[in-house]
Structures are given as C-alpha cells and as structure tokens.
Symmetry: none
Subunit: 254 residues, 2 copies
C-alpha cells in the first residue's frame, strides 16, 4: 500500500548542480537565451544560435541544448523550423482576455504606442448598488477614475473604475498618464478573483465623442469586478470600439 504525502507543491527540481552552479545546465542555457532576447540583443525573427553552437558555448551536449530550446519553444519565446534554424518569436498581437493584462502592455506588445488621458479622478460616496458591488456600506467613500486610452492618438478604450480605498489607499495620488490603473493595481493588490461581463453596446453620446466614433459603431463593453487582498477591490467598465479592438484569449486544459 502506497500512501502519498501531500502532493501539492514540489517545483523544486534538484540536481546536476552544485553550490556554485545553483541551476541545472539546460536551465542556464535557457536563461542565457532569454537574457539575450529581453536585453534586445536578439530581436524578433533574429536567428538564435543553433543547438550545436549553444552546446559548444556551454560545454554541454547537443541534447542539453536541445532541451533548453525545446522548452523555450513550448514557452513561445522562440520558433524552430526543422532544417532551417531557431528564431526569436514575435509576440502575438493578442490580448489575453482573462489573464489580466493591462491595455498598455497589450498595445505595446502589438507594436503601437500607448498614451492615456485622465478625464476624471475623484473620491465619491458609493450609491447603494455600487456599495454592494464593492462589498462596502452604502455611502462609503470610493475612488472613481475615468481614463481614455489611445494608440498612436486613436482612442481605443474608455475606462471607468471604482476602487475600494482599503485596497489601494494611494490611488488618487497616482499619475495614470505614466502607469495605467491596472498596472498600478496589479502592483499594490494582485487580483485573486475576477468576474467579467461582456456585452456589445452602442455607448451614449458623451462616450462616443471621447472614443471618436460614429453614432452606430458597435462597442465592446467589459464590465469587470475584481477581488484582491481578500476583499472586493474594483468595479470597472471598459468600453472599446469594435472596429479597433477585439479580445482574445487562449486556454489550455489543466
């Protein structure tokens, strides 16, 4: 009879390493390639050294270099073509829908340039409905912000947020033209749970003007509620013109 001890986390691999070599060899090769990509020494579509070259450079066998490159392929950092070579992967221009990534990261991963305009930043008492959504007492003070995000000048998103002050007490003091609210919130209060609602709408005139769209342009409205630090944290509406924005996500089982 086999009794398993708690099989939750292992993660710590083990060996092929000594005190001065805290990582396995294949892992060091991986990190070296990642460093070259992230430092900009290797740009998208650039050729990555071949297995043979890496093996020689690290005094490893080809199989070890192979393992490093194979894992990087699975992680979508590189692209391998049999008979040709290995190349730095171009980041996919996709917004991960449910991974909570910020719009600026998405736009910049796409190759655009992101700017934000702060239209409103205030502290207001929560109405009954909003208080319930943020799990606060009615009338409690909450932070409220409205931003317009642009990609090379073209508006791509109107975002309105209500924030539970317990979760991000310094929210009002931030300069959201530099760091987006979602980046800031991710920093101070990482999301534990999220609830999304996605609708196709025609926004009212005020918002249409902010987004610079015609009267009948359909928009995607993502209403999101998040929890962080074991509390309801934010309630927000993100509205994007359908002609300029889509949500994408890819999920694996497991």
């Amino acid at each position: 009879m086999i009794v398993l001890r708690d099989p939750n986390q292992r993660k710590t691999a083990c060996m092929g390493r000594t005190a001065d070599q805290p990582f396995a060899l294949y892992e060091r090769i991986k990190q070296s390639v990642i460093r070259d990509i992230e430092s900009g020494k290797l740009k998208p579509d650039d050729r990555v050294p071949s297995e043979t070259q890496l093996a020689r450079a690290f005094n490893a066998s080809r199989m070890t270099a192979n393992r490093a490159l194979k894992e990087l392929t699975e992680e979508n950092r590189i692209l391998r073509i049999q008979g040709v070579g290995t190349f730095v992967a171009r980041p996919k221009p996709e917004a991960a829908l449910l991974e909570i990534r910020s719009i600026s990261t998405e736009i910049e991963a796409w190759g655009g340039s992101h700017t934000a305009e702060v239209r409103l930043l205030e502290e207001i008492p929560a109405g009954e409905d909003l208080a319930r959504k943020l799990e606060l007492a009615p009338g409690a003070l909450v932070f409220h912000s409205i931003l317009i995000h642009r990609d090379r000048g073209t508006p791509v998103q109107y975002s309105e947020r209500y924030i539970n002050p317990e979760v991000a007490p310094d929210y009002l003091a931030q300069d959201f033209t530099i760091v987006t609210p979602s980046d800031y919130l991710m920093e101070v209060a990482p999301v534990q749970e999220a609830e999304h609602k996605i609708e196709a709408v025609v926004p009212d005139r005020d918002i249409r003007e902010c987004l610079d769209i015609a009267a009948h342009d359909p928009c995607l409205m993502l209403t999101r509620r998040t929890w962080a630090l074991d509390r309801a944290a934010t309630y927000s509406r993100l509205i994007s013109p359908g002609s300029r924005y889509t949500l994408k996500g890819r999920f694996k089982r497991g």
Copy 2:
C-alpha cells in the same frame, strides 16, 4: 540572407516513424497513458507505470519514456514525485478549462425553453484559410453547420461551425435540434485547448434577418477555435444580438 517562409503553424513533427507507425515513439507512449486515464483504467492518484516499466513495455529507452512522462507533466495530466513515482493528476477544480466552460456554457447552456433551427448542414472542401485554421490540407473536406438558437422563439444566437471530420466523423448524422453541437462535441471530443476572439460587430443583412434585429443593432461575435484529440477540432463563429445576450464568467486565480 535568411528568408523565412510563413512561420505560422508547424505542429506536424516528423520522424522516427514509418508508414505503419505514424507517430513518434514518445508520442505513442503518451497516448497510451492518456488512453488509460480517459478510459478510467487509471484514476486520479493512481500510480502510472515507471519510466523503466514503460520503456520495457514499449521496447524503448528510458529517455524516451522520460520524455513522454515529462510532457504529460507539463500538460498537467500526471504528477511526478522524485524518488516516489508518477501518479495521475487530479483535475484542478478551478483550472483554465473551467474558464472556457464558464464562458461557453454561459452562452450555450440555455435557460428557459431553447429551440434550435438547423439552417445548413453539409460537407464542403476547405479553402486555404479555413484549412490552415483546422490544420488540414487545402481542399480537405470539412463539416459545416449553421444553426439559429432561439429562446422562447426569440433568436439569440447564430452559430456557424466548421468541424474537422477526423475529430467528429458522425457530425453530419446528428440531430442538432435535440443536442446542441457543442454538447455533442464535448461528448465525443473533449476540448484540450481553446482560442477565443470576441468582437463587437454589425453583422451582414442575411444574418441580421436570421436574428431578427435592426440595421444598427450591435452584436457580440465570438470566434472560437478548439483543439481536441491532439488536433485542431473546430472553428466557429457565434453571433448574438447585444441587446439579448451577454457573456459572463467568474474566475479564480492560481
């Protein structure tokens, strides 16, 4: 100068295989283990044969069995504990797959009284783009269906699907007024991976008439590609009037 050919999909590995052995050895070992898991022969927490045993059983070297089990670990099908053994993983109750389900069942698990009209059900040769999306050769035959779903008579969704016949060979023989395509597909080919794109659009006139909506009504269009049985399985477009449907989902992190 290196000129890359279109680096979109590879997926097709290559060799170590002959006519009678269309898959690589490590792949056959993987599939064998997966079969045992999905058939119920191996249940969660059951011990999977060790690398040595698998190697002997498949007349392979231990490294080949190791590769098979390593990949299954990355796919979260099994759990390996150094020094102890390999065990069937218990599916996480709040894993990524549930996220898919919560989105798709939300839109397809219809409350109230649901009816479906089969507008089209046919077999057609795939064009170039569709063939690439289904990872098939251009011109290969694929199944094609168009359904209109109604809730108490009101159209709520126009769904168009392209199906890889390898994954669901009996697709055309189903009566989709009784079991929805997605329920049927979930039965015969459980989704391993899914890719979603969500857009706000104004559909063309034909679809607008099917959905019985006005000229400028915004609609939610969910374009979805799924993988099952280690193949691209379906490519579909689900269009719902924004005034009658929204997507909802709630997700936990980690």
